[in-house]
């Protein structure tokens, strides 16, 4: 039983670094299989050739930071049967969501010689704040294997296997020694969503929280424990304000430590 038509895949970029889109090009071993399974119809990072919509699957990278993009995301949604966000920017607002805690006009004044040329919204918001999202793939950047898994799941009409539990579970499956317990290294692993395969702890680094909050993050308890490891409150604020600063549990915890 073969599929009738080759589904059309589109990639869209909003405010982002392009790293998540590049993850697809990075899938060297699987790229031919992807190109065989779907018609890559809109992927400006790879090709100027664009096939007209509608698209069966749209992968959206980046957050909404301009009035123009706030309009454009609705066009993307209208042209897409399924819309999947890829990465921390599209899912939580990205590192650029740090502006949400300050006055963006101040930043613009400092950075740009001619601030009046810049037209930016006051906040950086995830795609889900603007349109209906069918699935969110976490990570900064996303994991290549989870991207292939998500595309495979879409093609086979099943749910992607991207468990929402903590990084700790992956750490233990891998046989890592806990950096927090054995070395006193501050680590966001217990409150962070799995997906990276516990990459940083495998190299004796604490987790930076790239995949955002896990399903039921107890940030209050983790902050208490980090304080016992002599992490000061201002440092706690910085820890939670990484690539997923805009994700609600991390945002709230950072604000609590700022008071």
């Amino acid at each position: 039983m073969k599929r009738k038509e080759t589904p059309k895949l589109a990639l869209w970029k909003f405010a982002s670094c392009d790293g998540c889109q590049l993850s697809l090009l990075d899938c060297e071993d699987e790229l031919l299989a992807v190109a065989g399974a779907v018609q890559i119809s809109h992927f400006l990072e790879a090709s100027r050739a664009v096939v007209k919509g509608p698209y069966d699957l749209s992968l959206v990278e980046g957050s909404i930071t301009t009035a123009h993009d706030a309009e454009r995301i609705h066009q993307v949604r209208r042209a897409s049967k399924r819309l999947v966000t890829i990465g921390a920017c599209a899912t939580a607002g990205g590192i650029q969501a740090l502006r949400n805690f300050k006055d963006v006009r101040e930043f613009i004044k400092i950075v740009y010689a001619t601030p009046e040329y810049i037209s930016a919204l006051e906040t950086s918001t995830p795609i889900s704040a603007h349109v209906k999202v069918d699935f969110e793939l976490r990570g900064c950047p996303i994991s290549k294997s989870q991207l292939i898994e998500t595309i495979s799941a879409f093609l086979n009409n099943r749910k992607p296997v991207t468990p929402p539990h903590s990084v700790c579970l992956e750490c233990k499956l891998r046989g890592n020694v806990c950096v927090m317990v054995a070395h006193g290294v501050p680590c966001l692993g217990p409150v962070t969503h799995a997906g990276c395969g516990a990459l940083c702890p495998a190299y004796n680094r604490g987790c930076f929280g790239c995949f955002g909050p896990q399903e039921t993050p107890n940030t209050t308890s983790l902050s208490d424990q980090l304080s016992r490891l002599n992490v000061q409150r201002d440092e706690l604020v910085r820890m939670y304000r990484g690539f997923n600063a805009g994700a609600k549990p991390f945002r709230r915890e950072s604000e609590k430590n700022e008071e």
């Binding site: 599929r3 699987e30 299989a33 992807v34 065989g36 399974a37 292939i148 898994e149 595309i151 495979s152 799941a153 093609l155 086979n156 099943r158 296997v161 468990p163 929402p164 539990h165 903590s166 700790c168 579970l169 233990k172 499956l173 046989g175 890592n176 020694v177 806990c178 927090m180 317990v181 054995a182 070395h183 006193g184 680590c187 692993g189 217990p190 409150v191 004796n204 896990q214 399903e215 039921t216 107890n218 209050t220 308890s221 983790l222 208490d224 424990q225």
Partner: protein
């Protein structure tokens, strides 16, 4: 005491002789095992902890190292001797060798007629577990009950278990989170081993007192340089373990614990522990008896090839209790209560023993330092107060 149904460990008068092995001759034991076709897994220092990994020579063992353990804290420290087993249990347990964290159950390939299923299980490796502590022997015995002694046999576990050659080591010290005496699982290795060793260190001598627990244990000891242990050496070996028994870092009162926890499913302490619990699942991963798994199905991009994988799961995830319509244990309270009540109470109804062996891993490796002995004690203490109060109210 857990009884072994599947394996024949025997200690009879004839071969229950105690032997003395000099420290350096332990290399000979490792070689004898390797020559018999085994891969030897034992304690070794890696990433600031004593983990279980392949060891080929005496130098691979953590000579002169010990560990200091407290709730949420583990530190390696130097000893002032050359002890090879002068530490307590670390982050790993033997579970990972008997019950693999990730396992492909089968592959399916599409063909003209439908699907072709292939089970590509590799034959179980021939492993030696060198340095198994008494609590760990009990943990293995508990998993035997779960996986092979019941009506549904896990063949992957069974084959690995049957092949494993167990060299137990009696504890000469207890860690800060140890409570095996409370659970009656140690510190002496009493059964379930092929060979048991006790390390004796004195100013002028350093040796092991060895005893065989099976025929194959006898055979390996025959290939190792040993001599008969004399009475004073045997006595020392006993005293060393008695010393460890007197130094437990923790204590868990197990009196009527099943009824205690069943009675207190609405105790306020569950809310209290929920405020500290990270639901990170570290305790269940580190626990040598926790056995839960989930299955994950994957397909490739073409849809012509599918795989089913089994991996360790934890009752601290919401997916664990997901049934049609949602997760049954949404609150952290319900998840911690499920874990602890199963471990200390429901396990007794289900498998006939406690699910806890008092190894202390869940205490040490909890990033928030939650202590199962403290939680149980808090429930007991508050219940007593409640009863006393009721009594006083009754008297008044």
């Amino acid at each position: 005491m857990v009884t072994f149904i599947y394996f024949n460990y025997m200690i009879t008068e004839n071969n229950n002789s105690f032997l003395r092995i000099e420290r350096e001759d332990l290399q000979g034991l490792i070689e004898a095992l390797a020559e018999s076709g085994y891969r030897v897994i034992g304690p070794t220092v890696r990433d600031g902890a004593i983990v279980y990994d392949e060891v080929e020579k005496l130098d691979d063992l953590p000579a002169g190292w010990t560990d200091e353990q407290q709730p949420g804290s583990y530190r390696l420290k130097r000893r002032d001797d050359r002890a090879l087993f002068g530490f307590n249990v670390g982050p790993h347990s033997w579970k990972k060798f008997l019950h693999p964290p990730n396992l492909r159950l089968f592959q399916a390939k599409r063909n003209d007629k439908g699907f072709e299923i292939s089970n590509d299980n590799q034959p179980a490796p021939d492993l030696v577990f060198l340095g198994v502590r008494a609590c760990e022997l009990h943990a293995i015995a508990i998993q035997d009950k779960v996986f092979i002694n019941g009506p549904y046999v896990d063949s992957v576990y069974g084959e690995r278990r049957e092949k494993a050659f167990v060299v137990a080591v009696n504890c000469g010290q207890a860690g800060g989170t140890c409570f095996c005496t409370s659970m009656k699982t140690g510190p002496r290795a009493e059964s379930g081993f092929d060979i048991a060793l006790t390390e004796v260190i004195e100013t002028d001598q350093h040796y092991f007192v060895a005893e065989a627990g099976s025929e194959r244990g006898v055979e390996i000891l025959e290939k190792t340089r040993t001599r008969k242990a004399d009475e004073s050496e045997k006595k020392k070996a006993v005293e060393i373990v008695e010393f460890a028994a007197s130094r437990m870092g923790r204590n868990l009162d197990t009196t009527g614990i099943k009824e205690l926890l069943y009675r207190n499913h609405d105790h306020p302490r569950w809310e209290d522990v929920a405020s500290r619990c990270l639901t990170c699942a570290n305790c269940t991963m580190a626990c040598p008896t926790c056995f839960c798994t989930t299955v994950e199905d994957t397909t490739d991009l073409t849809g012509d090839h599918a795989e089913r994988w089994r991996r360790w799961d934890s009752c601290f995830t919401t997916d664990f209790s997901y049934i049609h319509g949602g997760s049954m244990r949404v609150s952290v309270k319900s998840r911690y209560r499920q874990w602890m009540t199963h471990k200390l109470a429901a396990w007794i109804d289900q498998f006939g023993t406690s699910g806890c062996v008092g190894c202390g891993r869940c205490i040490t490796w909890c990033p928030a330092g939650i202590d199962i002995t403290e939680e149980a004690a808090a429930i007991r203490k508050n219940e007593l107060q409640r009863e006393n109060k009721e009594q006083q109210d009754g008297n008044a």
